[in-house]
């Protein structure tokens, strides 16, 4: 296969794979991009979510928040207390109502003042379900969505093969003065070049999610034996906020420096948070405490997890882009929109190229005045 026919081969692969699934791909990419800011969208819509005093992690009033929720809604079954990474979002207490509705009780983290209650279902849940599984049941939707990583991978590889000496194009301005077909192609290449690392990242994490769906999920965390044996079925009825504060102190002694992000309320208190390991979810650093006697049952840190767990833990922060706060979220959103634009511009280039062929009645030679071989394949 000579160079020209090789480029033609990769180009036909790139355009076939890119085109055939372009609508669905665009839909998934767009919903994923918007989902990066789903918590912020909820924050805009729901005044109850807003916190204005930027309470540092160490000063969160866990006990007072627990007491406030339990006093105001004694019939609700409290599930967990959750601290978002963003300090402008209030502390969230997830609870189940007597009529079996999951709700979010929002509490001012500095003093435990309840700012309101909202339904579990929100913009974040909506976008997550739409992007992750197209609203379908998990076992149907997740394989469909994550399978899209494979055509995306083929498209990325083919794109790099057909663009010889692609580094030369990194600073090549799209020729906006020429017809749309040309500058759309230029723009498609430019975005593709700069965003290729991000596309690769999304492909890798999505293939991981695909593998997880088919049995590749990581083994369970090393939870304490006494936890596994089980105790009472739920949190003791007389458990108080003061005891919760004591449990938090014990957790901080067990894992010094733990920035608590979630406290699971049940037969065992599970206190999770951020510590020293990078690219792990809060659950990777956990302390288990018996609520009956406030005894630490066990704990583990991100560094103690096996490689399989670490890969599993890294997938979400890398795919969602929240690991660096608002800054990485802005970057992830922008790159997500760029990926969406890749799909759209690729479709438009192909469409205009096809239109040109149909109108001119010509074969495969489509560029008006090609200066080099690239122009033939990219126009």
């Amino acid at each position: 296969m000579n160079k020209q026919s090789s480029a033609k081969f990769w180009h036909s692969i790139h355009s076939w794979v890119g085109l055939k699934l372009s609508l669905l791909m665009t839909f998934i990419l767009l919903t994923g991009s918007i989902a990066v800011f789903s918590a912020e969208i909820d924050w805009l819509f729901l005044p109850e979510m807003r916190s204005f005093d930027s309470t540092p992690s160490a000063q969160v009033a866990w006990g007072a928040s627990f007491d406030a929720a339990r006093t105001k809604y004694p019939e609700y079954e409290l599930d967990s207390l959750n601290r978002y990474l963003q300090e402008y979002i209030a502390l969230q207490v997830i609870a189940n109502t007597p009529w079996n509705e999951l709700v979010r009780i929002w509490v001012e983290p500095s003093d435990g003042t309840i700012s309101g209650v909202t339904p579990w279902y929100n913009v974040q849940r909506f976008l997550r379900s739409l992007h992750r599984r197209l609203m379908m049941p998990n076992n149907v939707g997740i394989p469909i969505v994550t399978f899209m990583a494979f055509p995306l991978l083929i498209s990325l590889i083919a794109g790099l093969f057909i663009y010889k000496k692609f580094w030369r194009g990194l600073f090549k301005r799209p020729r906006f003065e020429l017809k749309a077909r040309i500058w759309l192609g230029d723009l498609h290449r430019l975005i593709g070049l700069w965003g290729s690392w991000f596309v690769a990242l999304i492909i890798i994490t999505s293939i991981w999610y695909f593998a997880e769906e088919f049995g590749g999920n990581a083994p369970p965390f090393p939870v304490p034996v006494s936890y596994l044996r089980g105790g009472s079925s739920e949190l003791p009825a007389d458990f108080s906020g003061q005891e919760l504060d004591q449990a938090v102190e014990l957790a901080l002694i067990e894992l010094p420096g733990l920035e608590i992000r979630r406290i699971g309320l049940g037969e065992t208190l599970i206190i999770e948070g951020d510590l020293t390991a990078n690219f792990v979810r809060p659950r990777a650093n956990s302390v288990y405490i018996d609520p009956l006697n406030l005894k630490v049952l066990g704990s583990y840190k991100g560094e103690e997890l096996g490689l399989h767990n670490r890969i599993s833990e890294a997938a979400d922060p890398l795919h969602f882009g929240y690991f660096g706060g608002l800054i990485t979220k802005v970057i992830w959103f922008f790159l997500g929109i760029c990926m969406t634009a890749l799909s759209i511009t690729g479709f438009m280039v192909y469409g205009s190229r096809l239109g040109k062929i149909v109108l001119s009645g010509k074969g495969s030679k489509v560029n008006d005045n090609p200066k080099n071989k690239e122009d033939i394949y990219f126009s």
């Binding site: 609508l23 019939e75 009529w99 379900s129 197209l134 609203m135 469909i144």
Partner: protein
């Protein structure tokens, strides 16, 4: 795109349909019945269930099962002022619409009374909206 457009469009349309469904715009929601427990009204067992979210000032779907025949007054008012009556045969279950009082400050109490003034109640908890 040729024939490939159909799986593309099909999957997107299905997800949009399911989204509208999920938001409750096409159906009343994906909720089943919530069992609130069984109580003894004299010698009669009464079971009460509700369906869906409970919102102040709105009707909910509810049902009662009675182990014996009888006529019962039912109310969802903490004071028991607004009530209606239903007649049951032995082992009969009846579905009805129940108006929830328009307040958020105190729990909603569903009360069932018989002609002998025996009464039982279910605390549905404080509503949040």
């Amino acid at each position: 795109m040729g024939y490939w457009r159909w799986p593309n469009i099909g999957l997107i349309l299905v997800s949009i349909y399911l989204s509208l469904n999920n938001l409750g715009l096409l159906t009343s929601g994906p909720y089943g019945w919530t069992y609130h427990g069984e109580r003894m009204l004299g010698a009669t067992e009464i079971e009460f269930d509700s369906k869906g979210d409970i919102r102040s000032g709105e009707f909910i779907d509810a049902r009662i099962w009675s182990s014996n025949a009888g006529v019962y007054s039912i109310s969802a008012d903490s004071q028991g002022d607004a009530f209606f009556t239903l007649e049951f045969d032995e082992g009969e279950e009846k579905e009805f619409r129940l108006l929830i009082p328009n307040h958020l400050n105190s729990p909603i109490i569903v009360t069932v009374s018989d002609v002998k003034q025996n009464s039982i109640s279910w605390n549905l908890g404080k509503l949040y909206r």
